[in-house]
Symmetry: C2
DNA sequence: TTGCTTTACGAAAACGTGGTAGTGTTGAAA
DNA sequence: TTTCAACACTACCACGTTTTCGTAAAGCAA
């Protein structure tokens, strides 16, 4: 049990000053070759590595970035983390992850915990509750402190910062349009409650696609799900009435539930009902039938978000203080992955 | 853009010493009430929060724990992280996550990066490559430095430390036994390559169940998959020969692939072939038919691992140095979740 | 000897905190 | 008047690093 060795210990052991050790290890020409090599050999032997915390304190940079997301057991979010982790690693950054659990309080707590020097910047996706309350003071606060923030997916216009999103509206439009192109007329929308930003946008795209094709927009065909349990009942009711011949679901969980419900009732997918889901996850790939989806590459979003954040962090180093805040909103392209649930 | 305020700044502003400010904020009786309240009011107004990095340096604790896992876009691992995050949060710890991507080098690099003071302890699951090489020097090294390590799921006997596992062998035994109980005689095993510790154990359990029931152990019925692509071919070949009437798959990805392949060939699950998978993930719940699985609660494993680690960390505080190393291996119970893929 | 430049190193400050030990002033007891 | 305690506060150190500045010794020219 030998604790990590420090500069001080090396200095004492070799009977030189701490500065001499530090300089020797950084190969400063100030130090005579003999001493330099002696120190380096000693340090190597004891496997000296500078203490990160001390470095952070000195440099006022932690080389780590904080991620705040609503859930982690969630295909999309985990792909985003993966994407972030990749570039973070590449640039020598660590990622510390906090889960808000879709709770406003936890989100605030987590941000406060990390904001006190633990990290150099945030990448985050808003919790449902935060979006519902519309209270973003915790975010403006860290931004005011000069800490860069990049938001992704679940964002808000109320905060000025870099953002990485997909064009939810256009993607939804494309999906619904493809259903219409296949001759579907009565297209249902299964979505979440309105305050989730992306849910709202996808609804807008759905509506626009219908209207552009001269199909009346029917409120009764919009099913807003708060928890997945109730979904099944609502779905089966509508199916009984044969009220629709296609469904656009805002996530794959809803989609697979619809398919299973339909199957139970003896309806065939895609013959009787075509299904398209948002978010290309693992369920869509492996369900039977496989599900046509709008792919939104979490990995790419993560990559991009991390790059934007790190650029901001490292830009601050130089021209510290008030660089004209030209925030960027990056839009990641989506595309439709056709599978068995549509024809 | 007002940077975070420090003790020093407060001291200067109020024209008192830094110690006075520090003590006032910690409500020390040494400081007169008037000064104390004045300082507290000022600190509150400027939203003073002590700097974590400085605290870490001083206290030699970071209040954060490092997680090293092979993958993050993976249902089981993400549930474990979730479990860790829960208790970490509860105890005021942050989690830093690194993905080894099943690469030995990355695992080593990540550990070195974090071991230099960034965290108070590790929770990890070995990468495939590390298990293959059997090289654990990077782990013994951090342990020798006095840093607690808890391993979970993919562990090794070569390292002495706390561990959280499931009884892979017994769980596999139970699963295979249940297939036998349902009258299946020719049971195939679809598994990974041997060096993955859990793969090996599950194979052992499978073999034992067969032998205990007087069923001959047939090597031809064991399919070792290296990448999922080739799996489909091998499977369909065996299916053609009607070589088996049940399959025990070591993960749900293999299971769902088998089911899909069988379906394509016109075979019915579970009538013609019964399927049981290890790991109760999202695919099993939503595939058609739903898949009978051995549930291994990642969340519980994460909870337990985090608790063990934090206990170790906080125990060290007191009796620093050589507490009789009585390492614990915690076994999380599993159970069979019966679904549609078995009768 | 004096003055100047190198060479080779050390002292000290800084990052932000918290605890221990000290210091100066006041008022009261001896 | 002296002594001693209580009060209210400050000085200083440590955590581990980097970096700036300083300086002693040595070498060399004048």
């Amino acid at each position: 049990m030998k604790r990590k060795i420090t500069l001080k210990q090396i200095a004492k052991e070799l009977d030189v000053s701490i500065s001499t050790v530090s300089k020797s290890l950084r190969n400063s020409l100030e130090i005579g070759e003999e001493t330099r090599l002696k120190v380096q050999a000693f340090a190597k032997f004891y496997n000296y590595k500078p203490n990160n915390i001390a470095l952070s304190l000195k440099n006022r940079k932690t080389k780590s970035i904080g991620i705040i997301i609503p859930e982690i057991v969630h295909y999309f979010f985990s792909t985003v983390i993966n994407g972030i982790e990749q570039v973070a690693n590449e640039y020598g950054y660590s990622v510390v992850i906090c889960v808000s659990d879709d709770s406003f309080d936890k989100e605030v707590l987590n941000m406060e915990m990390l904001a006190n020097g633990s990290i150099d910047g945030f990448i985050m996706s808003l919790s449902k509750e935060t979006q519902f309350k519309g209270d973003f003071h915790h975010i403006t606060e860290v931004i005011n402190q000069g800490m860069p923030v990049v938001m992704f997916d679940r964002v808000t216009n109320d905060i000025l910062c870099d953002k990485v999103i997909i064009d939810d509206k256009a993607a939804a439009y494309e999906a619904v349009q493809s259903l219409i192109d296949n001759g579907r007329k009565k297209i249902a929308l299964v979505t979440t409650v309105d305050y989730v930003s992306v849910g709202k946008l996808r609804t807008d795209g759905y509506e626009k696609a219908l209207l552009d094709n001269g199909i009346p927009f029917n409120e009764d065909l919009i099913i807003k799900i708060e928890d997945v349990e109730t979904c099944e009942i609502t779905i089966s009711q509508l199916l009984h009435e044969r009220a629709f011949d296609a469904v656009f679901a805002v996530n794959e969980l809803f989609a697979v539930t619809i398919i299973k419900t339909a199957n139970k009732m003896g309806l065939k997918v895609p013959d009787d009902i075509a299904v398209i889901a948002f978010t290309d996850g693992i369920i869509s790939k492996y369900s039977t039938p496989t599900i046509t989806t709008v792919s939104q590459s979490g990995e790419k979003m993560g990559n991009k978000a991390a790059k934007m954040l790190i650029e901001r962090i490292e830009a601050e180093e130089d021209d510290d203080e008030e660089h004209t805040e030209n925030y960027i909103t990056e839009v990641i392209e989506t595309h439709l992955i056709k599978r068995e649930s549509t024809d």
